[in-house]
Protein backbone atom coordinates (compact mmCIF):
# COMPACT_ATOMS: atom_id res chain seq x y z
CA UNK A 1 0.00 0.00 0.00
CA UNK A 2 1.40 3.39 -0.94
CA UNK A 3 1.40 6.50 1.17
CA UNK A 4 -1.15 8.10 -1.14
CA UNK A 5 -3.55 5.24 -0.59
CA UNK A 6 -2.99 5.48 3.11
CA UNK A 7 -3.97 9.13 3.00
CA UNK A 8 -7.18 8.28 1.20
CA UNK A 9 -8.05 5.90 4.01
CA UNK A 10 -8.11 8.75 6.46
CA UNK A 11 -11.71 9.39 5.63
CA UNK A 12 -14.68 10.15 7.82
CA UNK A 13 -15.90 6.59 7.77
CA UNK A 14 -16.56 5.66 11.41
CA UNK A 15 -14.97 2.34 12.29
CA UNK A 16 -15.72 2.17 16.01
CA UNK A 17 -18.31 4.13 17.88
CA UNK A 18 -19.03 4.00 21.61
CA UNK A 19 -22.11 5.73 22.98
CA UNK A 20 -22.48 6.13 26.74
CA UNK A 21 -20.80 2.82 27.42
CA UNK A 22 -20.91 1.67 31.02
CA UNK A 23 -19.52 -1.48 32.56
CA UNK A 24 -19.43 -2.90 36.06
CA UNK A 25 -17.42 -5.75 37.57
CA UNK A 26 -19.85 -6.67 40.30
CA UNK A 27 -20.25 -3.40 42.21
CA UNK A 28 -17.16 -1.84 40.71
CA UNK A 29 -18.02 0.72 38.05
CA UNK A 30 -15.13 0.21 35.67
CA UNK A 31 -16.27 2.19 32.61
CA UNK A 32 -18.30 5.36 33.06
CA UNK A 33 -20.18 6.96 30.18
CA UNK A 34 -17.53 6.39 27.56
CA UNK A 35 -18.15 8.19 24.26
CA UNK A 36 -15.69 7.66 21.46
CA UNK A 37 -15.62 7.78 17.68
CA UNK A 38 -12.77 6.27 15.72
CA UNK A 39 -12.63 7.00 12.00
CA UNK A 40 -10.87 4.94 9.38
CA UNK A 41 -7.09 5.14 9.54
CA UNK A 42 -7.01 6.85 12.91
CA UNK A 43 -4.34 5.85 15.41
CA UNK A 44 -5.49 6.30 18.96
CA UNK A 45 -3.33 5.87 22.04
CA UNK A 46 -5.02 5.18 25.33
CA UNK A 47 -3.04 5.75 28.52
CA UNK A 48 -3.75 6.13 32.16
CA UNK A 49 -2.85 4.72 35.57
CA UNK A 50 -3.18 1.01 36.23
CA UNK A 51 -6.75 -0.07 36.92
CA UNK A 52 -8.30 2.91 35.13
CA UNK A 53 -10.23 0.68 32.71
CA UNK A 54 -8.18 1.24 29.56
CA UNK A 55 -7.69 -2.46 28.83
CA UNK A 56 -11.33 -3.14 29.62
CA UNK A 57 -12.31 -0.42 27.18
CA UNK A 58 -10.58 -1.98 24.19
CA UNK A 59 -11.54 -5.50 25.26
CA UNK A 60 -15.18 -4.39 25.06
CA UNK A 61 -14.67 -3.55 21.39
CA UNK A 62 -14.33 -7.21 20.39
CA UNK A 63 -16.58 -8.43 23.16
CA UNK A 64 -13.90 -10.16 25.22
CA UNK A 65 -15.66 -8.17 27.93
CA UNK A 66 -19.36 -7.47 27.96
CA UNK A 67 -20.60 -3.95 28.58
CA UNK A 68 -23.86 -3.51 30.43
CA UNK A 69 -25.09 -0.16 29.21
CA UNK A 70 -24.68 1.92 26.07
CA UNK A 71 -23.90 0.95 22.50
CA UNK A 72 -20.73 -0.24 20.85
CA UNK A 73 -20.82 -0.19 17.06
CA UNK A 74 -17.91 -1.68 15.15
CA UNK A 75 -17.84 -1.40 11.34
CA UNK A 76 -21.55 -0.68 11.40
CA UNK A 77 -22.44 -3.70 13.53
CA UNK A 78 -23.86 -3.24 17.01
CA UNK A 79 -22.32 -5.53 19.60
CA UNK A 80 -25.11 -7.24 21.50
CA UNK A 81 -25.96 -10.75 22.60
CA UNK A 82 -26.31 -11.92 19.01
CA UNK A 83 -23.45 -14.36 18.48
CA UNK A 84 -23.47 -13.68 14.74
CA UNK A 85 -22.75 -10.01 15.33
CA UNK A 86 -19.93 -10.89 17.71
CA UNK A 87 -18.45 -13.33 15.16
CA UNK A 88 -18.59 -10.79 12.36
CA UNK A 89 -16.97 -8.10 14.48
CA UNK A 90 -14.21 -10.42 15.64
CA UNK A 91 -13.30 -11.31 12.07
CA UNK A 92 -12.81 -7.67 11.30
CA UNK A 93 -10.89 -6.68 14.39
CA UNK A 94 -7.45 -7.98 15.32
CA UNK A 95 -6.06 -7.99 18.81
CA UNK A 96 -2.56 -8.18 20.26
CA UNK A 97 -2.16 -9.03 23.92
CA UNK A 98 0.35 -8.09 26.57
CA UNK A 99 1.22 -11.77 27.14
CA UNK A 100 1.34 -12.54 23.36
CA UNK A 101 -1.00 -15.53 23.84
CA UNK A 102 0.49 -17.53 21.00
CA UNK A 103 -0.66 -21.14 20.93
CA UNK A 104 2.36 -22.99 22.34
CA UNK A 105 1.47 -26.38 20.85
CA UNK A 106 1.44 -25.03 17.28
CA UNK A 107 4.32 -23.77 15.17
CA UNK A 108 4.55 -20.13 14.18
CA UNK A 109 3.11 -20.99 10.77
CA UNK A 110 0.26 -23.03 12.27
CA UNK A 111 -0.50 -20.19 14.68
CA UNK A 112 -0.91 -17.86 11.73
CA UNK A 113 -2.95 -20.25 9.57
CA UNK A 114 -5.38 -21.59 12.17
CA UNK A 115 -7.99 -18.85 11.98
CA UNK A 116 -7.76 -18.20 8.22
CA UNK A 117 -8.31 -21.91 7.57
CA UNK A 118 -11.04 -22.59 10.10
CA UNK A 119 -12.81 -19.23 10.28
CA UNK A 120 -12.35 -17.80 6.79
CA UNK A 121 -12.30 -21.29 5.20
CA UNK A 122 -9.26 -20.46 3.10
CA UNK A 123 -7.44 -23.35 1.44
CA UNK A 124 -4.30 -24.27 3.41
CA UNK A 125 -1.94 -23.25 0.63
CA UNK A 126 -3.42 -19.82 0.31
CA UNK A 127 -3.43 -19.33 4.08
CA UNK A 128 0.22 -20.33 4.27
CA UNK A 129 1.18 -17.97 1.47
CA UNK A 130 -0.58 -15.09 3.22
CA UNK A 131 0.97 -16.03 6.54
CA UNK A 132 4.44 -16.10 5.02
CA UNK A 133 3.87 -12.69 3.53
CA UNK A 134 2.94 -11.22 6.92
CA UNK A 135 5.70 -13.07 8.71
CA UNK A 136 8.12 -11.53 6.25
CA UNK A 137 6.67 -8.14 7.00
CA UNK A 138 7.39 -8.55 10.69
CA UNK A 139 10.78 -10.01 9.69
CA UNK A 140 10.36 -13.40 11.23
CA UNK A 141 9.64 -15.62 8.23
CA UNK A 142 12.78 -17.66 8.90
CA UNK A 143 11.32 -18.86 12.20
CA UNK A 144 8.05 -20.10 10.68
CA UNK A 145 8.59 -23.75 11.57
CA UNK A 146 9.61 -23.08 15.18
CA UNK A 147 7.38 -23.31 18.21
CA UNK A 148 6.61 -20.10 20.17
CA UNK A 149 8.54 -21.42 23.18
CA UNK A 150 11.72 -21.30 21.11
CA UNK A 151 11.40 -17.57 20.34
CA UNK A 152 12.27 -14.48 22.35
CA UNK A 153 9.53 -12.27 23.73
CA UNK A 154 9.94 -9.67 21.00
CA UNK A 155 9.81 -12.32 18.30
CA UNK A 156 6.70 -13.86 19.85
CA UNK A 157 4.94 -10.51 19.93
CA UNK A 158 5.79 -9.91 16.28
CA UNK A 159 4.36 -13.34 15.44
CA UNK A 160 1.23 -12.40 17.39
CA UNK A 161 0.88 -9.26 15.29
CA UNK A 162 1.35 -11.26 12.09
CA UNK A 163 -1.20 -13.80 13.29
CA UNK A 164 -3.79 -11.05 13.71
CA UNK A 165 -2.95 -9.50 10.35
CA UNK A 166 -3.48 -12.87 8.61
CA UNK A 167 -7.21 -12.40 9.21
CA UNK A 168 -6.95 -9.20 7.21
CA UNK A 169 -8.62 -7.03 9.86
CA UNK A 170 -9.56 -3.42 9.29
CA UNK A 171 -9.01 -2.46 12.94
CA UNK A 172 -6.20 -3.52 15.26
CA UNK A 173 -6.37 -3.40 19.05
CA UNK A 174 -3.15 -3.47 21.05
CA UNK A 175 -3.38 -4.18 24.78
CA UNK A 176 -0.05 -3.04 26.26
CA UNK A 177 1.89 -4.90 23.56
CA UNK A 178 5.34 -4.04 24.92
CA UNK A 179 4.76 -4.19 28.68
CA UNK A 180 5.93 -7.78 29.06
CA UNK A 181 9.07 -7.29 26.98
CA UNK A 182 12.69 -6.76 27.91
CA UNK A 183 13.81 -3.21 27.06
CA UNK A 184 15.97 -4.20 24.09
CA UNK A 185 13.04 -6.00 22.47
CA UNK A 186 10.52 -3.17 22.75
CA UNK A 187 11.89 -1.37 19.73
CA UNK A 188 11.54 -4.29 17.33
CA UNK A 189 7.85 -4.55 18.20
CA UNK A 190 7.24 -0.81 18.06
CA UNK A 191 8.93 -0.65 14.63
CA UNK A 192 6.42 -3.16 13.31
CA UNK A 193 3.57 -1.14 14.77
CA UNK A 194 4.89 2.10 13.29
CA UNK A 195 5.02 0.42 9.86
CA UNK A 196 1.46 -0.70 10.32
CA UNK A 197 0.39 2.81 11.26
CA UNK A 198 2.06 4.25 8.16
CA UNK A 199 0.12 1.82 6.01
CA UNK A 200 -3.13 3.34 7.22
CA UNK A 201 -4.35 0.69 9.67
CA UNK A 202 -6.97 1.86 12.14
CA UNK A 203 -5.32 1.30 15.48
CA UNK A 204 -6.29 1.56 19.12
CA UNK A 205 -3.35 1.03 21.40
CA UNK A 206 -3.11 0.90 25.17
CA UNK A 207 0.50 1.73 25.92
CA UNK A 208 2.85 3.74 28.06
CA UNK A 209 5.38 4.15 25.25
CA UNK A 210 5.10 7.91 24.94
CA UNK A 211 7.73 8.13 22.20
CA UNK A 212 5.61 5.79 20.13
CA UNK A 213 2.52 7.84 20.91
CA UNK A 214 4.20 10.99 19.64
CA UNK A 215 5.33 9.27 16.43
CA UNK A 216 2.14 7.64 15.27
CA UNK A 217 -0.89 8.83 17.19
CA UNK A 218 -3.59 11.11 15.85
CA UNK A 219 -5.14 11.34 19.25
CA UNK A 220 -4.20 10.46 22.80
CA UNK A 221 -6.86 9.55 25.32
CA UNK A 222 -6.13 9.80 29.01
CA UNK A 223 -8.32 7.67 31.28
CA UNK A 224 -8.67 7.64 35.01
CA UNK A 225 -11.18 5.82 37.23
CA UNK A 226 -13.19 4.59 34.26
CA UNK A 227 -13.59 7.94 32.53
CA UNK A 228 -11.93 9.60 29.59
CA UNK A 229 -10.44 12.64 31.33
CA UNK A 230 -8.64 14.21 28.45
CA UNK A 231 -8.41 13.76 24.70
CA UNK A 232 -6.02 15.65 22.46
CA UNK A 233 -3.46 15.61 19.70
CA UNK A 234 -0.24 14.04 20.96
CA UNK A 235 1.89 17.22 20.95
CA UNK A 236 -0.77 19.25 22.70
CA UNK A 237 -1.42 16.40 25.10
CA UNK A 238 2.18 16.08 26.21
CA UNK A 239 3.19 19.73 26.08
CA UNK A 240 0.04 21.29 27.35
CA UNK A 241 -2.00 18.91 29.51
CA UNK A 242 -5.23 20.42 30.77
CA UNK A 243 -6.37 18.52 33.84
CA UNK A 244 -4.42 18.10 37.05
CA UNK A 245 -4.70 14.35 36.94
CA UNK A 246 -3.15 14.27 33.48
CA UNK A 247 -0.33 16.53 34.63
CA UNK A 248 0.31 14.31 37.64
CA UNK A 249 0.30 11.18 35.48
CA UNK A 250 2.63 12.65 32.89
CA UNK A 251 5.03 13.88 35.56
CA UNK A 252 5.20 10.34 36.92
CA UNK A 253 5.89 8.52 33.68
CA UNK A 254 8.01 10.95 31.69
Amino acid sequence: MTAAQAEQHNSDEVMVELRDVNKWYGDFHVLKNINLKVTKGERIIICGPSGCGKSTLIRCMNRLEEHQKGDIIVSGITLDDDLKHIDTVRRDIGMVFQQFNLFPHLTVMENCCLAPIWVQKKPRREAEATALQYLERVQIADQASKFPGQLSGGQQQRVAIARSLCMNPSIMLFDEPTSALDPEMIKEVLDVMVDLAHEGMTMLCVTHEMGFAKTVANRVLFMDAGEIIEENEPNEFFDNPQSDRTKLFLSQIL
Partner: protein, 367 residues
Amino acid sequence: MTVHVTSPSPSLPPPASSVGVIGWLRENLFSSVTNSIFTLIGLFLIYKLVPPAVNWALFQADWVGTTRDACTSDGACWVFVGVRIKQFLFGFYPPSEYWRVVTAFSMVGVLIAWLLIDRTPKKALVGAFTIFVYPVIAYFLFYGGAFGLPVVETYKWGGLMLTLILATTGMFFSFPIGIILALGRRSSMPIAKSISVVFIEFWRGVPLITVLFMSSVMLPMFIPEEMQIDKLLRAMIGIIFFQSAYMAEVVRGGLQAIPKGQSEAAEALGLSYWKSMTFVILPQALKLVIPGIVNTFIALFKDTTLVLIIGLFDLLAVVQAAFADPKWLGFSVEGYVFVASVYWVSCFSMSRYSQHLEKKLHTGHAR
Protein backbone atom coordinates in the same frame (compact mmCIF):
# COMPACT_ATOMS: atom_id res chain seq x y z
CA MET B 1 48.32 -2.54 37.63
CA THR B 2 45.85 -5.30 36.82
CA VAL B 3 46.18 -7.70 33.94
CA HIS B 4 43.14 -8.20 31.75
CA VAL B 5 42.76 -11.66 30.30
CA THR B 6 40.90 -11.38 27.03
CA SER B 7 40.53 -15.02 25.99
CA PRO B 8 38.57 -17.46 28.18
CA SER B 9 40.67 -19.97 30.07
CA PRO B 10 40.43 -23.55 28.75
CA SER B 11 37.94 -25.95 30.33
CA LEU B 12 39.50 -28.59 32.57
CA PRO B 13 38.29 -32.20 32.73
CA PRO B 14 36.25 -32.98 35.86
CA PRO B 15 38.04 -34.79 38.72
CA ALA B 16 38.24 -38.55 38.16
CA SER B 17 36.24 -39.35 41.28
CA SER B 18 33.12 -37.62 39.96
CA VAL B 19 32.74 -39.45 36.65
CA GLY B 20 32.56 -43.05 35.47
CA VAL B 21 31.48 -46.06 37.48
CA ILE B 22 33.17 -44.98 40.70
CA GLY B 23 31.73 -41.50 40.45
CA TRP B 24 28.25 -42.85 39.83
CA LEU B 25 28.47 -45.29 42.76
CA ARG B 26 29.75 -42.62 45.05
CA GLU B 27 27.08 -40.14 44.07
CA ASN B 28 24.09 -42.46 43.99
CA LEU B 29 24.73 -45.28 46.44
CA PHE B 30 27.37 -44.21 48.96
CA SER B 31 26.98 -40.45 49.23
CA SER B 32 26.65 -40.56 53.05
CA VAL B 33 26.84 -43.03 55.92
CA THR B 34 23.04 -43.41 56.04
CA ASN B 35 22.81 -43.93 52.30
CA SER B 36 25.60 -46.52 52.44
CA ILE B 37 23.73 -48.44 55.13
CA PHE B 38 20.52 -48.39 53.09
CA THR B 39 22.44 -49.50 50.02
CA LEU B 40 23.85 -52.48 51.92
CA ILE B 41 20.45 -53.41 53.33
CA GLY B 42 18.99 -53.16 49.83
CA LEU B 43 21.69 -55.37 48.37
CA PHE B 44 21.11 -57.92 51.12
CA LEU B 45 17.35 -58.01 50.44
CA ILE B 46 17.91 -58.39 46.70
CA TYR B 47 20.31 -61.26 47.38
CA LYS B 48 17.80 -62.96 49.69
CA LEU B 49 14.67 -62.51 47.55
CA VAL B 50 15.49 -62.35 43.88
CA PRO B 51 17.47 -65.57 43.26
CA PRO B 52 14.88 -67.84 44.95
CA ALA B 53 12.04 -66.15 43.06
CA VAL B 54 13.84 -66.50 39.72
CA ASN B 55 14.69 -70.10 40.50
CA TRP B 56 11.07 -70.87 41.35
CA ALA B 57 9.62 -69.13 38.33
CA LEU B 58 12.18 -70.07 35.68
CA PHE B 59 15.03 -72.46 36.42
CA GLN B 60 13.32 -75.02 38.61
CA ALA B 61 9.93 -74.71 36.92
CA ASP B 62 8.16 -77.40 34.90
CA TRP B 63 7.06 -76.25 31.49
CA VAL B 64 5.88 -79.22 29.46
CA GLY B 65 3.32 -81.90 30.10
CA THR B 66 -0.40 -82.44 30.20
CA THR B 67 -1.13 -83.59 33.76
CA ARG B 68 0.06 -82.63 37.21
CA ASP B 69 2.37 -85.66 37.18
CA ALA B 70 4.67 -83.63 34.95
CA CYS B 71 5.33 -81.29 37.85
CA THR B 72 8.02 -83.06 39.78
CA SER B 73 10.50 -80.32 40.66
CA ASP B 74 10.36 -77.73 43.45
CA GLY B 75 9.61 -74.82 41.11
CA ALA B 76 6.48 -73.45 39.52
CA CYS B 77 4.20 -75.74 37.57
CA TRP B 78 3.45 -73.79 34.40
CA VAL B 79 1.88 -76.94 32.96
CA PHE B 80 -1.28 -75.87 34.79
CA VAL B 81 -1.39 -72.61 32.90
CA GLY B 82 -0.39 -74.32 29.65
CA VAL B 83 -3.17 -76.87 29.84
CA ARG B 84 -5.77 -74.27 30.65
CA ILE B 85 -4.50 -71.48 28.44
CA LYS B 86 -7.35 -71.61 25.92
CA GLN B 87 -9.90 -71.18 28.65
CA PHE B 88 -7.85 -68.37 30.20
CA LEU B 89 -7.80 -66.58 26.85
CA PHE B 90 -11.29 -67.26 25.50
CA GLY B 91 -13.45 -68.32 28.46
CA PHE B 92 -16.22 -70.61 27.23
CA TYR B 93 -16.20 -69.29 23.69
CA PRO B 94 -16.69 -72.24 21.31
CA PRO B 95 -13.25 -73.40 20.10
CA SER B 96 -14.46 -73.59 16.50
CA GLU B 97 -15.07 -69.81 16.61
CA TYR B 98 -11.76 -68.80 18.23
CA TRP B 99 -10.60 -67.42 14.90
CA ARG B 100 -13.19 -64.65 15.18
CA VAL B 101 -11.74 -63.40 18.45
CA VAL B 102 -8.21 -63.69 17.14
CA THR B 103 -9.15 -61.77 13.99
CA ALA B 104 -10.87 -59.01 15.91
CA PHE B 105 -7.95 -58.53 18.30
CA SER B 106 -5.35 -58.76 15.53
CA MET B 107 -7.23 -56.06 13.65
CA VAL B 108 -7.39 -53.72 16.58
CA GLY B 109 -3.75 -54.47 17.33
CA VAL B 110 -2.72 -53.45 13.82
CA LEU B 111 -4.96 -50.37 13.89
CA ILE B 112 -3.67 -49.17 17.25
CA ALA B 113 -0.06 -49.81 16.27
CA TRP B 114 -0.70 -47.87 13.07
CA LEU B 115 -2.02 -44.93 15.05
CA LEU B 116 0.59 -45.01 17.78
CA ILE B 117 3.71 -45.42 15.65
CA ASP B 118 4.96 -42.05 14.48
CA ARG B 119 5.84 -42.71 10.85
CA THR B 120 2.75 -44.29 9.33
CA PRO B 121 0.79 -42.52 6.58
CA LYS B 122 -2.95 -41.72 6.38
CA LYS B 123 -3.45 -41.49 10.15
CA ALA B 124 -6.71 -39.56 9.81
CA LEU B 125 -8.26 -42.22 7.57
CA VAL B 126 -7.11 -45.10 9.76
CA GLY B 127 -8.28 -43.21 12.86
CA ALA B 128 -11.73 -42.66 11.39
CA PHE B 129 -11.88 -46.34 10.43
CA THR B 130 -10.90 -47.37 13.95
CA ILE B 131 -13.50 -45.13 15.53
CA PHE B 132 -16.47 -45.60 13.21
CA VAL B 133 -16.07 -48.85 11.27
CA TYR B 134 -14.01 -51.12 13.46
CA PRO B 135 -16.47 -51.28 16.41
CA VAL B 136 -19.18 -52.56 14.06
CA ILE B 137 -16.86 -55.21 12.62
CA ALA B 138 -15.75 -56.20 16.12
CA TYR B 139 -19.34 -56.48 17.30
CA PHE B 140 -20.26 -58.91 14.52
CA LEU B 141 -17.06 -60.89 14.96
CA PHE B 142 -17.53 -61.32 18.70
CA TYR B 143 -21.29 -61.70 18.85
CA GLY B 144 -22.08 -62.94 15.36
CA GLY B 145 -25.61 -63.07 14.01
CA ALA B 146 -24.73 -61.75 10.55
CA PHE B 147 -22.66 -62.73 7.54
CA GLY B 148 -23.24 -66.42 8.36
CA LEU B 149 -21.48 -66.14 11.70
CA PRO B 150 -23.30 -68.11 14.40
CA VAL B 151 -24.32 -66.15 17.48
CA VAL B 152 -22.10 -66.59 20.52
CA GLU B 153 -24.04 -65.46 23.58
CA THR B 154 -22.16 -63.12 25.89
CA TYR B 155 -22.31 -65.51 28.86
CA LYS B 156 -19.86 -67.68 26.92
CA TRP B 157 -17.37 -64.84 26.66
CA GLY B 158 -14.63 -64.90 29.21
CA GLY B 159 -10.98 -64.86 30.12
CA LEU B 160 -8.50 -62.37 28.74
CA MET B 161 -10.83 -61.75 25.81
CA LEU B 162 -13.56 -60.45 28.11
CA THR B 163 -11.08 -58.39 30.11
CA LEU B 164 -9.79 -56.74 26.95
CA ILE B 165 -13.29 -56.12 25.58
CA LEU B 166 -14.40 -54.50 28.82
CA ALA B 167 -11.23 -52.42 29.09
CA THR B 168 -11.14 -51.21 25.49
CA THR B 169 -14.82 -50.32 25.30
CA GLY B 170 -14.43 -48.62 28.68
CA MET B 171 -11.51 -46.51 27.43
CA PHE B 172 -13.04 -45.93 24.02
CA PHE B 173 -16.23 -44.42 25.43
CA SER B 174 -15.14 -42.96 28.77
CA PHE B 175 -12.53 -40.70 27.16
CA PRO B 176 -14.87 -38.68 24.88
CA ILE B 177 -17.70 -38.74 27.45
CA GLY B 178 -15.25 -37.51 30.07
CA ILE B 179 -14.15 -34.63 27.83
CA ILE B 180 -17.76 -33.60 27.17
CA LEU B 181 -18.54 -33.75 30.89
CA ALA B 182 -15.47 -31.69 31.76
CA LEU B 183 -16.42 -29.05 29.21
CA GLY B 184 -19.98 -29.15 30.51
CA ARG B 185 -18.85 -28.63 34.07
CA ARG B 186 -16.87 -25.55 33.06
CA SER B 187 -19.60 -24.25 30.81
CA SER B 188 -21.46 -21.05 31.60
CA MET B 189 -24.75 -22.62 30.51
CA PRO B 190 -26.63 -23.57 33.67
CA ILE B 191 -28.33 -26.68 32.28
CA ALA B 192 -25.22 -28.21 30.74
CA LYS B 193 -23.32 -27.36 33.88
CA SER B 194 -25.76 -28.87 36.34
CA ILE B 195 -26.23 -32.05 34.31
CA SER B 196 -22.47 -32.54 34.23
CA VAL B 197 -21.99 -31.81 37.90
CA VAL B 198 -24.78 -34.17 38.96
CA PHE B 199 -23.54 -36.92 36.64
CA ILE B 200 -19.94 -36.64 37.78
CA GLU B 201 -20.70 -36.38 41.48
CA PHE B 202 -23.16 -39.27 41.35
CA TRP B 203 -20.94 -41.75 39.54
CA ARG B 204 -17.80 -40.72 41.36
CA GLY B 205 -19.53 -41.01 44.69
CA VAL B 206 -20.48 -44.69 44.46
CA PRO B 207 -18.10 -47.67 44.51
CA LEU B 208 -17.74 -49.55 41.22
CA ILE B 209 -18.80 -52.76 42.97
CA THR B 210 -22.12 -51.14 43.85
CA VAL B 211 -22.58 -49.96 40.29
CA LEU B 212 -21.96 -53.44 38.91
CA PHE B 213 -24.15 -55.06 41.52
CA MET B 214 -27.00 -52.65 40.85
CA SER B 215 -26.70 -53.17 37.14
CA SER B 216 -26.85 -56.94 37.38
CA VAL B 217 -29.18 -57.55 40.31
CA MET B 218 -31.35 -54.51 40.96
CA LEU B 219 -31.91 -53.16 37.48
CA PRO B 220 -33.54 -56.33 36.07
CA MET B 221 -36.13 -56.17 38.83
CA PHE B 222 -37.41 -52.82 37.62
CA ILE B 223 -37.36 -53.55 33.92
CA PRO B 224 -39.99 -55.75 32.26
CA GLU B 225 -38.85 -59.11 30.96
CA GLU B 226 -38.99 -58.22 27.26
CA MET B 227 -36.87 -55.11 27.74
CA GLN B 228 -34.01 -56.86 29.51
CA ILE B 229 -30.59 -55.76 28.35
CA ASP B 230 -27.69 -58.13 28.16
CA LYS B 231 -25.80 -58.47 31.45
CA LEU B 232 -22.42 -57.79 29.87
CA LEU B 233 -23.78 -54.67 28.20
CA ARG B 234 -25.14 -53.44 31.54
CA ALA B 235 -21.78 -54.01 33.20
CA MET B 236 -20.07 -52.22 30.32
CA ILE B 237 -22.32 -49.19 30.62
CA GLY B 238 -21.72 -49.15 34.38
CA ILE B 239 -17.95 -49.19 33.88
CA ILE B 240 -18.11 -46.54 31.14
CA PHE B 241 -20.21 -44.11 33.22
CA PHE B 242 -18.10 -44.71 36.31
CA GLN B 243 -14.81 -44.11 34.52
CA SER B 244 -16.20 -41.15 32.54
CA ALA B 245 -16.76 -39.32 35.80
CA TYR B 246 -13.14 -39.82 36.79
CA MET B 247 -11.93 -38.92 33.30
CA ALA B 248 -14.00 -35.74 33.41
CA GLU B 249 -12.26 -34.55 36.55
CA VAL B 250 -8.82 -35.37 35.14
CA VAL B 251 -9.59 -33.42 31.96
CA ARG B 252 -11.04 -30.54 33.97
CA GLY B 253 -7.74 -30.31 35.81
CA GLY B 254 -6.03 -29.86 32.47
CA LEU B 255 -8.55 -27.29 31.24
CA GLN B 256 -8.06 -25.22 34.36
CA ALA B 257 -4.30 -25.17 33.89
CA ILE B 258 -4.57 -23.43 30.51
CA PRO B 259 -4.22 -19.65 30.90
CA LYS B 260 -7.29 -17.59 30.08
CA GLY B 261 -5.28 -15.73 27.44
CA GLN B 262 -5.35 -18.80 25.20
CA SER B 263 -9.12 -18.87 24.82
CA GLU B 264 -9.20 -15.06 24.60
CA ALA B 265 -6.70 -15.13 21.75
CA ALA B 266 -8.76 -17.81 20.02
CA GLU B 267 -11.94 -15.78 20.48
CA ALA B 268 -10.26 -12.61 19.28
CA LEU B 269 -9.30 -14.46 16.09
CA GLY B 270 -12.95 -15.32 15.56
CA LEU B 271 -12.78 -19.02 16.42
CA SER B 272 -16.05 -20.41 17.73
CA TYR B 273 -16.23 -22.15 21.11
CA TRP B 274 -15.96 -25.64 19.64
CA LYS B 275 -13.17 -24.72 17.25
CA SER B 276 -11.23 -23.01 19.98
CA MET B 277 -11.67 -26.07 22.20
CA THR B 278 -10.73 -28.50 19.42
CA PHE B 279 -7.69 -26.71 18.07
CA VAL B 280 -6.39 -24.58 20.92
CA ILE B 281 -7.52 -25.57 24.40
CA LEU B 282 -8.03 -29.34 24.40
CA PRO B 283 -4.75 -30.25 22.66
CA GLN B 284 -2.88 -28.35 25.35
CA ALA B 285 -5.07 -29.47 28.25
CA LEU B 286 -5.03 -33.14 27.29
CA LYS B 287 -1.29 -33.08 26.80
CA LEU B 288 -0.88 -31.73 30.33
CA VAL B 289 -2.97 -34.49 31.85
CA ILE B 290 -1.59 -37.46 29.93
CA PRO B 291 -0.30 -38.94 33.21
CA GLY B 292 -3.75 -38.59 34.75
CA ILE B 293 -5.51 -40.03 31.71
CA VAL B 294 -3.21 -43.04 31.60
CA ASN B 295 -3.65 -43.42 35.35
CA THR B 296 -7.40 -43.61 34.84
CA PHE B 297 -6.99 -46.08 31.96
CA ILE B 298 -4.76 -48.32 34.07
CA ALA B 299 -7.22 -48.17 36.96
CA LEU B 300 -10.05 -49.01 34.56
CA PHE B 301 -8.12 -51.93 33.13
CA LYS B 302 -7.57 -53.43 36.55
CA ASP B 303 -11.06 -52.58 37.80
CA THR B 304 -12.55 -54.83 35.14
CA THR B 305 -11.66 -57.73 37.45
CA LEU B 306 -14.58 -56.62 39.63
CA VAL B 307 -17.06 -58.01 37.12
CA LEU B 308 -16.45 -61.43 38.67
CA ILE B 309 -18.85 -60.50 41.49
CA ILE B 310 -21.72 -60.38 39.02
CA GLY B 311 -20.79 -63.70 37.49
CA LEU B 312 -18.89 -62.57 34.42
CA PHE B 313 -15.77 -64.65 33.91
CA ASP B 314 -12.96 -62.25 33.17
CA LEU B 315 -9.33 -63.39 33.21
CA LEU B 316 -9.04 -63.44 37.00
CA ALA B 317 -12.39 -65.19 37.48
CA VAL B 318 -11.60 -67.87 34.91
CA VAL B 319 -8.24 -68.59 36.52
CA GLN B 320 -9.81 -68.73 39.96
CA ALA B 321 -12.45 -71.10 38.65
CA ALA B 322 -9.70 -73.37 37.39
CA PHE B 323 -8.30 -73.66 40.93
CA ALA B 324 -11.40 -75.68 41.81
CA ASP B 325 -10.56 -78.40 39.28
CA PRO B 326 -9.85 -81.48 41.42
CA LYS B 327 -7.14 -82.55 38.99
CA TRP B 328 -5.24 -79.33 39.58
CA LEU B 329 -5.71 -78.49 43.22
CA GLY B 330 -2.94 -76.47 44.81
CA PHE B 331 -1.67 -74.46 41.87
CA SER B 332 -3.21 -71.13 42.78
CA VAL B 333 0.16 -69.38 43.11
CA GLU B 334 1.00 -70.14 39.48
CA GLY B 335 -2.44 -68.95 38.45
CA TYR B 336 -2.16 -65.66 40.31
CA VAL B 337 1.38 -65.04 39.11
CA PHE B 338 0.19 -65.60 35.54
CA VAL B 339 -2.73 -63.20 35.95
CA ALA B 340 -0.54 -60.63 37.66
CA SER B 341 2.06 -60.73 34.89
CA VAL B 342 -0.56 -60.29 32.18
CA TYR B 343 -1.92 -57.23 33.99
CA TRP B 344 1.54 -55.89 34.73
CA VAL B 345 2.74 -56.19 31.14
CA SER B 346 -0.40 -54.43 29.84
CA CYS B 347 -0.30 -51.62 32.39
CA PHE B 348 3.44 -51.12 32.09
CA SER B 349 3.13 -50.83 28.30
CA MET B 350 0.48 -48.13 28.69
CA SER B 351 2.70 -46.29 31.12
CA ARG B 352 5.73 -46.44 28.81
CA TYR B 353 3.72 -45.29 25.82
CA SER B 354 2.37 -42.33 27.78
CA GLN B 355 5.90 -41.29 28.67
CA HIS B 356 6.90 -41.48 25.02
CA LEU B 357 3.84 -39.43 24.07
CA GLU B 358 4.62 -36.75 26.64
CA LYS B 359 8.13 -36.36 25.26
CA LYS B 360 6.92 -36.29 21.69
CA LEU B 361 4.30 -33.62 22.35
CA HIS B 362 6.59 -31.39 24.35
CA THR B 363 7.12 -28.29 22.22
CA GLY B 364 9.61 -26.56 24.47
CA HIS B 365 7.39 -23.86 25.87
CA ALA B 366 8.27 -22.80 29.35
CA ARG B 367 5.44 -22.81 31.81
